[in-house]
Amino acid sequence: MRTLEQTTQEVLDLAAKHFQLPAGSLAPEDDFFKKLGIDSLQTLEMLSRLENHFGIELPDYEVQGVSNFKTLAERIQSRL
């Protein structure tokens, strides 16, 4: 079982990889809309990648209003 810290790190690594950013360039508190300059659609694409990685389904309503990696990791953690 992963810890929340591990999940958060994996989320950050995968997001960096997905958007082709250097590893370590994202932080848990980062707002992904602002930091990555992405729209809601691109966010959904990132979520699909995270779902595949963690082997979970994250219903759209669970991520409604979530805009930073830390909260996103918490939502993922609760479904692991």
Binding site: K34, S40, L41, E45, E57, D60
Partner: protein
Amino acid sequence: MLDLSQYQSVGAALKDALDRFASEVCLIEADREREKERLTYRDFRERAHPLAKALQDAGFSAGDRASIIMTNQAKWLISAYAVFFVGGVLVPLDYKLTPDEQWQLLKHSGATVLITEYPTWRQLNASGGRASANVQTVLVTEAPPNAELAGARRWEEFRGTSDPAFVLRVRKDIASIVYSSGTGGRPKGCMMTHENYLEQCVALTSIYPFWPGVRYLSILPTNHAIDFMVGFFGPFTCGAAVVHLRTLRPEYVRAAFPKYKITYVSLVPLVLKNLQKGLQARFDALPAGKRKIFNTLVAVNKILTKRRPRLAISRLLLKPVHEAFGGELRAIIVGGAFTEPQTLQFFYDLGIPVANGYGLTEAGTAITVNDLKPFRADTVGKPLPGMEVRILNLASDGIGEVAVRSKTIMAGYLNDPELTAETIVDGWLMTGDLGKIDEHGHLQLRGRKKNIIVTEEGKNIYPEDIESVFEGLPVKEFCVFAANYIWPKRSMTGEQLVLVLHLEPGQSLSDELRREINARNQRLLNYKRIHGVVLLEEDFPRTASLKIKRNVLAERLAKLDRAAAVLLL
């Protein structure tokens, strides 16, 4: 299709549709690759009538207001039908608003019944705004077995046992209160009458018809005027089917087209543009030889569809593209915001007509629609049947304010006669948008007169609505504007918000102040954020009651050079 001229209310038309098309499929609901449900009109009635009866038993009666806050799903439409059946007024709210915003609109609308999904209810309940609203009955869908319902009742168990009594409403009665925006200082609740919907439906389906067998993919939120019309009332009165997806991940949306043989879909410009980018990338990746053949086929298609769409030929010529969309797609309806002409042309050249148009919630959805005779990417089409469009206060370049008169214009804004009087003048709806009508009768939009931005996601953002986030900012005074309102631009794209600051004497835009502004900006949803700051070294003009005179302030700011004045954050 039902002859809607014979009907007095939305409820009466829907009730007859359920009888007339009883054995046709009306709803398909899918969650990812799994199809959850497929209902005929008969099944729909069997679900809706016990709910209507239970509402009646709970004392809900004619003119009472019931709000729905749900993602697009079968229970949204079933609930709305039940509300109309018993003569209620529907208050559809955006599920993407924050709980505080939702409570504010629930209070403003006077809704006594709330129908929502369990996760939304959990958030609403946590926000503590309930005391301010007059919601007495809360129904929640899909609550887990041991969930804490906090006074709500399970939608699935809220069922009456005998037949409900149908309650007739007349055309001029209010059918719904739709919030076009305005979650801040001044909620704008458009009171839509039964006549508004009946007339709009007749007008729209005369150009984009539905019939049994048509499948509409419902992606835009159903609380939005467009989806309510083309994803519920329109298809239902014609016996067509609506497909709901419980997740809007692009891969599942893409898969739904071939899986369910979609006929129509509505999208906001942002999604359409995204689709364009994806397709273009795939075309660019084709090997040189194949690409050349493909480009030739597109060129041939362009010639053959110059005067009008010829779906059968386009589907043959550009088979792989059309198969990716399921092979049955007749048109993509795009709305909610302005769409760039090159995006519209891109799809039309592939043989996929984009039904672009122009509308406002206040006008009962669409005012103009491209009738494809021939297709024009540079306009928002011609007025729909029954719509009178005039251009008022013409400037020297022939551009003026678009005004509309028709039976689809709302009755007014709820509890706001002053704003209603400003907006509807002698029966004409003043849209606040600027445009001109060309020699072929097509409307061309050329900017806005009002202080608002509309994002590519179709969100109307009123600057005053986001000012509360900056309350307490350590400056003398501040105000938020749409940059194009201050510095008018004959354009409908690239709209941005700016924060105008009047600093204290001796104060400067320090790093600390910037950080504070940025931190507050982050609290706003991404599409509501301000783009830059404008500094003004004078007191803001104010009324006797100390309200900022926004138009006077805008005139003063207009004297500044935009490029130099807007300091990026």
